[in-house]
């Protein structure tokens, strides 16, 4: 474990990029691949189906992943379920430790929730980052509103705020 000290001021940050750089061209081709046919994603329960439309390759250049239709779909998904977790993997098979943490918290509180696997749909994954103005996953929605990622959820769970909010959401 390495500890880096930083100059006080703006946050300047220089992670070692050696092994982590993903080229933008590969992600672009991935997108094309995903969108060459109608892309359908199912959450663990059958009630949530997210369909993203095919996008033209010419719009890839400076495109926003959050197209109007996806936005409408996300509005619908987040408001028609009290608790929605956009995560890596499914609630029965989380594929990321942070996602798993929230799943375990929600399960321990006996909260019924929808989970949507963002790994199955690249356009959804990118679009959600814009939709929530949040760069990472998992993303937890409660009562139609973005609640937070893993750190915020853990903190709120520890101080009881999460339980309070969930109770309110379940009664509303």
């Amino acid at each position: 474990m390495m500890i880096m000290s930083l100059a006080i001021g703006g946050i300047s940050f220089a992670p070692n990029k050696n092994k982590t750089t993903t080229s933008s061209s590969s992600s672009a081709s991935q997108l094309l691949l995903h969108n060459s046919s109608s892309n359908r994603l199912r959450s663990s329960s059958s009630s949530v189906t997210i369909t993203t439309r095919r996008i033209r390759s010419s719009s890839l250049r400076c495109f926003s992943a959050l197209n109007p239709q996806l936005k409408i779909t996300l509005d619908k998904v987040t408001t028609s379920n009290k608790v929605v977790l956009f995560m890596k993997g499914t609630k029965d098979f989380p594929q990321c430790g942070f996602s798993n943490t929230i799943v375990q918290i929600l399960k321990s509180l006996n909260v019924p929730f929808e989970s949507v696997n963002i790994l199955e749909n690249e356009l959804l994954r990118q679009g959600l980052k814009e939709y929530s103005s949040w760069p990472t996953f998992p993303q937890l929605y409660i009562d139609g509103e973005f609640f937070g990622g893993c750190d915020i959820t853990v903190e709120a769970y520890k101080n009881g705020e999460l339980q309070e909010l969930l109770e309110k959401a379940m009664c509303s």
Partner: protein, 81 residues
């Protein structure tokens, strides 16, 4: 998010690849802001870097006052080298 930052601690949790970090931030700019807003401030400040970071865990985003209180309630140091 700049001049009034008090303290930032960054821990590389990636095990060497440099793509996973945990941060603890004390700033008076967090004053009067909810945790979600505080995290958004950090995310915004790190927007460029986030493209290359796989995981960023914001362990703490507290005001100097909160920091003081936390220091007093725990005698053990947060990190040691």
């Amino acid at each position: 998010m700049c001049s009034s930052k008090r303290s930032v601690e960054i821990i590389d949790t990636s095990g060497g690849c440099g793509a996973s970090f945990a941060v603890e931030i004390v700033s008076d700019q967090f004053e009067g802001k909810r945790l979600l807003e505080r995290h958004r401030m950090v995310n915004t400040a790190l927007a460029e870097e986030m493209k290359d970071i796989h995981a960023l865990s914001i362990k703490k985003a507290v005001t100097p006052t909160q920091w003081q209180q936390q220091q007093e309630s725990t005698n053990t140091p947060l990190t040691s080298q």
